[in-house]
Symmetry: none
Subunit: 417 residues, 2 copies
Amino acid sequence: MELELVTVGTELLLGFTIDTNGAEIARLMGTIGVRVSRRTAIADRAEDIRSSVGEALSRTRFVITTGGLGPTRDDITKKAVADLFDAPLEFREDIWDALLERYRRLRRVPAESNRTQAEVPRGAEVLPNRWGTAPGIWLEGPAGTVVMLPGVPLEMRMLLQHEVVPRLAGRTAGRVVRSRTLRATGIPESTLADRLGDVESDIAPLTLAYLPGLEGVDMRITAWDLPPDDAERRLDTAAERIRSLAPDVLYGEGEDDLAALVLDAARGRRVRLAVAESCTGGLVGARLTAVPGSSDVFDGGAITYADWAKSEMLGVDAALIAEHGAVSEPVVQSMALGAARRFGALAVAITGIAGPSGGTAEKPVGTVWLATAQGDEVRSSRMIIVGTRNEIRARAAQAALALLWRRLQDVRTAPSP
Amino acid sequence: MELELVTVGTELLLGFTIDTNGAEIARLMGTIGVRVSRRTAIADRAEDIRSSVGEALSRTRFVITTGGLGPTRDDITKKAVADLFDAPLEFREDIWDALLERYRRLRRVPAESNRTQAEVPRGAEVLPNRWGTAPGIWLEGPAGTVVMLPGVPLEMRMLLQHEVVPRLAGRTAGRVVRSRTLRATGIPESTLADRLGDVESDIAPLTLAYLPGLEGVDMRITAWDLPPDDAERRLDTAAERIRSLAPDVLYGEGEDDLAALVLDAARGRRVRLAVAESCTGGLVGARLTAVPGSSDVFDGGAITYADWAKSEMLGVDAALIAEHGAVSEPVVQSMALGAARRFGALAVAITGIAGPSGGTAEKPVGTVWLATAQGDEVRSSRMIIVGTRNEIRARAAQAALALLWRRLQDVRTAPSP
């Protein structure tokens, strides 16, 4: 089965916004064996919407649109497609009631402009949107089917997964594109590629792509155009082969978040966690608390950006800072020990030079000292990270999580809290 | 002047790669007054290339393609467009020599398949590519003009800047697309739209787009196809008109980061800053320290995720938490006052229920209390934020920055540090 995507939004065409919805829809469709054969991005103009959706229907009889379902005047997808199908828009009390109820829960009052969000082309099926105000719309007619989804990425994704995929899964026939991603951290892409050697020919016809990012290097293995069972079996074998070549740097799969794995490991070992952050300024705490349920094991920490704050909040001896500088092994160790003591926790500390200024010949921009401490036992290490200020900070935060994760792998037993 | 983009590449359609070239071309074209009216992504299939380029030419008579110029079998853009123009491919010795020279410099030997990269449709102009092996191609015919660029982002960008823009700049007759973005926060999109009423007709022919995001709602005003001076003048007037309708919620323009504006305001008023974060877990600190030079005014703060940490780090009375709960006005005020005292700073405190669990009828998920304090003076407010855990946290962090920003606007004079 094939379909086309039509992305509506002048913003996307101007290039101010990068379209990530298109890629996401294509990937998800691939997993159920539906192929996206063309993607068209057009402006918020009724004529362009009618013509591009009409042409797409003439080629594939199935079109997904994103964008243009909001309450403002430039949201005209629904009207344009309704016109194309000769299906007048009808105000639907049930949608309006659901919207009113949503606003009541949030203690807000909908604006007059929200009323258009309760209008639906006659004969269309409504795809309820629990994640926002614009429902999706499934419209069938003699020319084919158009599924209209909102452009907000979260809402689009949720409607796609919960409403569109289940309806399409039955219509497809047998061959799929499936991929699996293994996540590595603490190793440069080229070193990882050297370690894996000629693994590409071992896993053929599956392909391997290296995707370096701020959290490390992802490796995506893809099985193309195979029956689902065969694809899964080959992916298992390929993943096993790659894991055996780099077991120490592989921490997860797919969307695995290192912060969540750290929290799970700490929970399993009854260890509580705390942070002491200088150059990352709260990033590690933010990563940990982004995970639901983190309060089980994470108590908090100190953001000690100024030197005096390191002394005030963590008990770092001011003389130590004066002698070695704030970015040094003695200071990071003292920060970690101070946080571990204060919070009765396994603590990680980070101090570094995020730039763009502040570097010296001895301590260039990107120099980061990290330490973990539990009780009196402290371990520290230094990294030199290349990149912009934000890359240095994000990589330092990921490295801090990796240190916690490795240290938690060592812990066999821990005292009850 | 209008043109269309046609992006060739099965990888892009499968969604494993996100197309950033399209956005980049559109932005650059906008600055010289060329409007991208449609973007089409297709697979490496000759028939699809011929039909989509042909249709695009029939609409705009000018098309840029990216991708499909490499040496492998799936690189068929050149052949397909040549067929569409009835222009046979011809082997060009000069291109082949340049390619051999390039390989010699890199101490490599070209493969036999590289010979196809020296083939050019008869009558085409070659756009030399110093950044890779595939030259760009400029082909004109009765149907219009097709410019073929490689898909590798760096090569595409360089050819666009050095070869395409100079050739087009002369044709646009001094008319440009210019836009300006006003940033609002602390107001829902629909309420903002109601406040602005029928401003779209006031500012016509300029257009207005609402772009809601985690930092608030951006409003992009765009002037289409006008002489540069006229465009700027009308943008000024339109921005002024919109600002006058919502002065209290507009904090910046373009890429302005509220954290940077807060730091600037604090710097200008000689106020130092600190944070006390519960549900945001370090996000506000991370936002502030993401800005280079933040150490001028930001000293640090406490991440007090556990209740006891609020007492230990910020001196919040445990009885207050027991009586009112951690997410309450008395507790957020006490957190802010504690941080203000400890850091001798203007402090912002945040405590809330980020979900997905932990909500009650009285305090639903998304309930967030915020406070700012300086000395003994504390101000607090409550929000109920809709969204996922991460949206709630990101919006709460932005709201905390907005409170600091507004409070700093009030400060006329402040004591020297």
